[in-house]
Symmetry: C2
Subunit: 284 residues, 2 copies
C-alpha cells in the first residue's frame, strides 16, 4: 500500500512522492519516483526501465529530486528514477545527535547491533522491499535495474550492485565512500551498526567486494578534485588499486575544480543516465 | 565592496555568492552570480552578457540557483545570471509575520510609506545599484541586460523592463503576477508600501504600463494551467487583454499540467535563456 503525498509535472513527466509502511524497516517511509513522459501505466508490454538513486549523509529523497536536474535526461532516455530516503525515520526509530550517524545515515547495510538492528535494515529495503513495491505499483521493469548514488549513496550503489549482479544491470557513483572500513565515517557507522568485529565489515566495503566479485560489472565513478572529503573519507585511490589488482573495469573520472555538492552532480548527471540507459536498453 | 561567501563549480563555470552593503536598501545584501566557462575576468574586450533573475515570494537568491537548472543553458549560451534576494534583510529591517509581505516580499518597488520606505527600495536596487555593482566587479555587459523572473519576480521583470527600455534588452516571465492592483497579494503589498491612494499603484502594474510603453519589447510568458495561484493572483488574461489592446507583442504559452513550482521553471528555463540569448547577441 502506497499513498501519494505530492505530484508535480516536470519535463513532460511526473515527479511523484509516496508514503508507505516498510515492514523491513519497521516504520513509515517516503520515496520519490520520476515517471518520464512515455511512461505507460496501463500497457504491460511497454514497461519503463528504472534507476535507483541512493543519496548521501543527511539527505532524504528530496535533495536529488530538487537539485540534480536529472528529470531532463530521464525524460530524454525514457527512464524512471526512484529516490528513497537514506535511513529509517520517525520518533520510534533510534537516533543520534551526530549528523553522520543514525537517521539520515543508514549506510545501506543491515545492522546487527542493538538498538539499531530493529530498524536499520537499509540493505534489504533497497535490494528487495522497495523494488518489489515499485513492481507492484508501477509499470516498470524491476528484474533489471540500474543503481547509482552520491557519497554514502555511492558506497551503497557499488556494494549493492557488486553483491547482486543478477538484479542490477548497471552502476555508477559520484564521490563515493570507496572503502568505509578505512575512513572515519565508515568506521564510526560500522562499529555501531555491525559491532567491533571488523571481519564482518568487509561485506559492505566496495574495495573488499571487488576481490570476490563474480560479475565484472563496469563502474563509472566521477570525483571532484576540490571535494572537501576527498582525502580523509572518500579515497578513490583505494578503489582504483582494487580494480587494477582484480581486473575490474573502472572508469574513474577526476574533475578539476568540482566539490562534493549537488552542483557537481548536476554537471555530470546526464553522463551517468546515458551510461545506465545504454546498459538497460541492451537488456530490456 | 563585495565579499565572496561561497563558490562552486558547475557545468564548467562558477556559481558564486557575494555579500555587500546596499546604500539604497540600507542593509547588507547577498546575491548570486553564475559565470559561464567562457567568462573572461581579464579581457575587457570579451565581456559576458548578463541576465537578471527576480525570484518570487519567500525566496532568496538560492532557490533559483539550486533548483532551476539554468546553469547548463547559461554555460551553453555563454551568459552570466545574477540572482538577487527578494527584499532588504536583517534585524534592523522591519518585517511582518505574513509570508506574503515585508521581508522576502519586496515586490520590486520603491516604498513611500513608513516604516517601509527606509529600506524597501527594491526597484532602485535592481534597476541601478546592483547593475552598477556588477559592472564594477565583473567583466560583464551591463548597458544591455536581459531580465526575467517568477511570480512576484515575473511582475518585477516585466514592470522594470517596460519602464527602462534603454537598459533592458529582453524580458520574460514564469507565472507572473500580471496585475498586482487587481489581486490580493498586490493589493495588500501596495497598500502597505505605497499607501491607500491607488492612483500611485499603476506605476508598478504591468497591465497599466503596457498602455504607455514607449518601446514594444516582446514579452515571453509561460504559465502552468494547474498553477494553484492562477485564478486569484496571477491573471494572465488581463495581460493578454492589455497587450491585444495596445498591440504589444506577447508570446503567452499555457502549459497543461504544470503548477507554480520550480519543477515548472526547470522544464522551460532553457527556452527562456534561448529567448534572451537571441536578443543579447544581437545587441552586444
Amino acid at each position: 500500500m502506497i499513498k501519494e503525498v505530492a505530484t508535480n509535472k516536470i519535463f513532460g513527466g511526473w515527479q511523484r512522492r509516496f508514503q508507505h509502511y516498510s515492514s523491513v524497516l519497521n516504520c513509515d517511509m517516503v520515496f520519490s519516483i520520476y515517471l518520464p513522459p512515455n511512461y505507460d501505466e496501463q500497457a504491460n508490454k511497454q514497461k519503463t526501465p528504472v534507476l535507483f538513486w541512493l543519496s548521501g549523509l543527511t539527505c532524504n529523497d528530496q535533495n536529488f529530486v530538487t537539485k540534480a536536474g536529472a528529470q531532463r535526461y530521464a525524460a530524454e532516455y525514457n527512464i524512471a528514477i526512484v529516490a528513497p530516503d537514506t535511513s529509517p525515520r520517525g520518533e520510534s526509530v533510534p537516533d543520534d545527535d551526530a549528523w553522520d550517524f543514525a537517521q539520515g545515515a543508514g549506510f545501506y547495510l543491515n545492522a546487527t547491533q542493538e538498538p539499531w538492528s530493529q530498524h536499520f535494515q537499509m540493505y534489504d529495503y533497497i535490494v528487495d522491499e522497495l523494488p518489489s513495491l515499485i513492481a507492484e505499483n508501477f509499470s516498470i521493469y524491476t528484474n533489471k535495474i540500474g543503481i547509482f548514488g552520491h557519497s554514502m549513496g555511492g558506497h551503497g550503489a557499488i556494494t549493492i550492485a557488486l553483491k547482486n549482479p543478477e538484479k542490477f544491470t548497471s552502476v555508477s557513483a559520484f564521490s563515493p565512500i570507496c572503502s568505509p572500513i578505512n575512513c572515519p565515517w565508515g568506521k564510526k557507522a560500522f562499529t555501531h551498526y555491525l559491532g567491533e568485529d571488523q571481519s564482518r565489515w568487509s561485506h559492505y566495503d566496495s574495495c573488499e567486494l571487488i576481490t570476490a566479485a563474480t560479475d565484472r560489472l563496469p563502474l563509472l565513478v566521477d570525483q571532484g578534485e576540490e571535494d572537501e572529503f576527498l582525502q580523509e573519507q572518500l579515497k578513490p585511490e583505494l578503489l582504483l588499486q582494487a580494480c587494477n589488482k582484480y581486473n575490474h573495469p573502472l572508469n574513474l573520472r577526476r574533475h578539476q575544480g568540482y566539490d562534493h555538492s549537488y552542483y557537481f552532480i548536476a554537471s555530470f548527471i546526464g553522463d551517468h543516465i546515458h551510461h545506465h540507459a545504454q546498459a538497460l536498453t541492451k537488456t530490456s
